[in-house]
Symmetry: C2
Subunit: 433 residues, 2 copies
């Protein structure tokens, strides 16, 4: 069974993930060879700083000329773990043109240019695999693309960013505020010095775009994803969530519209019932909940980042791509045949938890309830309480039934115009019920 000519792998990038990929390719060479049916050989490693010491990597393989490496013509698989848009995009398309298949961990690039990259792969009859781009080691792309290929996915609900989950979990368990929890995450290495991509939801939005595209067999780009960060979540929000039997998570939510004619993708903090499996996802772990017609509710859970877990996902793809190459076949490419349009946030239907600061006098609740009714938003529960300060203000917490985002926005705009409403303290969506 075993053929002797090794498959040649070019590694682009040798940071946390790349060095782990190189390490495992060396230490587990026999296992990989047995599982592929041929040995794999690291044929070159493109880096920006060649002078950095890299344990266990033959210095003669290291180059700064990534383009020359992917153009060599004898490379079977290019593993791209550079990240970012350029030069990764050009290198991947050049790799296809020169006969290589590609394994990538690049969520930003896939979310932005997935369709073009898939087209390039198909044009050259090559594979493009990217399990590592979403939720690190958690097998998710392959189950969605392949295991659920005979099912109809209606909803994907996920915690796909470990940094924000660490922060929110900390706020939930200790009562800490956002800044305090962020500081701890930074000190422990869970948050980067500039945490913007994580806390503002950009990272999660890229993953949502990729997941939505695969789940609904349609093209969903990063720009199509509604995005709201979690920097405004307060200890008071967690207290409100506890009152509701909920916790707060930053969720990536991809949904098929009820009429089936469109899809939505969004990232925002949301309350989720403690009984929901996602509620107990702790620390920096990721988990993705998938709802389908036939299979019902599935959940995939694991480490969403880190060198070794991400390398595991890359190597799983590498084995698959090498096997395809040996058999002269390619795996599943882009599946966008359904071509469902992506609707805007206004069409999203969910429940809401709204905290209002109102004047503490009779008739306020009636006024507020009228505004909700006029906008077609049905109220589930209201809780009204005077403030201990006796400052003439009261809090009103309204939880709605399901309503469109557009209706809710109209409601909130009208509420702000009421004299008796001093302010809208918070609005949070309630998901997973």
């Amino acid at each position: 069974m075993m053929r002797t000519r090794p498959l040649k792998v070019a590694l682009l990038g040798c940071g946390v993930v790349g060095s782990e990929v190189a390490r495992i390719m060396t230490t587990h060479a026999d296992d990989l060879a047995a599982r592929i049916g041929a040995p794999v050989e690291l044929a070159g490693v493109a880096v920006r700083r060649p002078d950095r010491v890299r344990d266990g990597i033959d210095p003669s393989l290291v180059t700064t000329d990534a383009t020359a490496l992917v153009k060599r013509g004898d490379i079977d698989v290019v593993v791209e773990v550079i990240g970012g848009i350029e030069p990764a995009r050009s290198l991947i398309t050049t790799a296809f043109e020169h006969g290589a298949s590609v394994v990538s961990a690049n969520k930003a690039l896939l979310a932005q240019d997935g369709a073009a990259l898939h087209a390039a792969a198909e044009e050259h009859d090559k594979d493009l695999y990217y399990e590592a781009a979403v939720a690190g080691a958690i097998p998710l792309i392959r189950p969605l693309r392949e295991s659920l290929a005979g099912d109809k996915v209606n909803r994907v609900l996920g915690i796909v960013n470990g940094t924000t989950n660490f922060i929110l979990d900390k706020m939930d368990s200790t009562g800490a505020g956002y800044q305090e929890a962020l500081d701890e995450a930074t000190a422990l290495g869970y948050a980067e010095a500039d945490p913007t991509a994580d806390v503002e939801g950009f990272d999660a939005a890229a993953k949502a775009a990729i997941l939505a595209g695969i789940a609904f067999h349609s093209r969903v780009r990063l720009d199509d994803v509604y995005r709201e960060g979690m920097t405004e979540v307060t200890a008071a929000d967690f207290a409100s969530a506890k009152n509701m039997g909920c916790t707060i998570k930053l969720l990536a939510i991809c949904e098929r519209a009820q009429d089936g004619g469109s899809v939505t993708a969004r990232v925002h903090p949301a309350m989720i019932p403690l009984s929901h499996p996602l509620a107990s996802v702790r620390g920096a772990y990721n988990a993705v909940f998938v709802e389908s017609d036939a299979s019902g509710q599935l959940m995939f859970y694991g480490p969403g980042a880190g060198g070794a877990p991400t390398a595991s996902a890359v190597l799983g793809d590498l084995v698959a791509v090498c096997r395809n190459r040996l058999s002269g076949a390619t795996g599943p490419g882009e599946s966008a045949y359904a071509a469902l349009p992506v609707s805007g946030m206004g069409d999203v239907v969910t429940r809401y938890h709204i905290s209002l600061d109102v004047a503490d006098k009779p008739g306020v609740l009636a006024q507020v309830a009228t505004v909700f009714a006029e906008h077609g938003v049905s109220i589930d529960t209201v809780r009204q309480q005077g403030r201990p300060e006796g400052d003439g203000e009261a809090s009103l917490v309204v939880v709605t039934h399901r309503a469109s985002d557009a209706s809710l926005s109209g409601t909130v705009e009208a509420l702000r115009k009421l004299d008796t409403v001093r302010g809208v303290a918070s609005i949070m969506r309630v998901e997973g019920e």
Copy 2:
């Protein structure tokens, strides 16, 4: 891209799962065709009772002659959802001989004869897929075979039987005894009239054999799996578990030995900490926890049985096998290159929770502790309590550090011989720490 000759599928068995497969093949024909790249056609349905009304299935397709159906020669894929050893085994090998690939949901057959069936598939260069054989709709076989192909799995810990999980969850949440919980499971349709295969662990053992074989790239047969049912679990055991911060689950556990030279597979009830993700798997749901070198801890969660979920898994395989067929390739076959031997239960190392009924007098604890020490079993905690009955007996609860099953068995045997030990009330393993 789309070719016009349809791929022909023969369905063997048309019970709960088979009829759902047929239904989805009809209602989702366009989706399946788009995902495969060619239409799929139900070419025949073999059943035992042809007179039963089958909604939505063309009566002219129904036959009682399954052998003739798989021998037709124009069948691309045989879907076997009959279950049991024969005639399923003969039909599958006949299918390979006559040019078809096979999708099966048959855990018993795969656990007993997986190696021979894989060999037959390979001999004829055909696919044998069986995602539905383990944990219903949960994508598990494919992630283990493919996503983790670049990783080293050390442990698989799973709740793979929904009936027993329903019963144990009920006992845990209501304090009910085993019989009462079983009666409720039967009334609700979660347990069969004869629940033996579930409650005695036979079903879980078959799944453990399949999972261990794939996880460790070795052959593990049903006979290699240690098996203990859950009919002896009592309300008192749950009370003990709660004292430990644990609950009780029937677990399938597949482990690589510490020295890496062998593997074990076992099914038995065990205490598991409430903080472990498996502890919160409720009702009839299944979940499998996988520990690997690089990816760390992953969990896969979902419905473990039922017509529609199992059909989803079958159809995911059907799409993959059809795609392979169109590209003239086959997917991953058996991977048993590691050929690790399967060790017996004596070599399994874990912790134990032991409840003893002892004489309520000084010196008993010293005697008991000496027996543990003599057998090399180190004690973690001991709790001693007199009985309110004042019958001269006391309870002694011993929780051990990790020790081999052989050492523990020796200890228990010696304890039973002590005059002061009136009885061993229960022994339960403690897992997942």
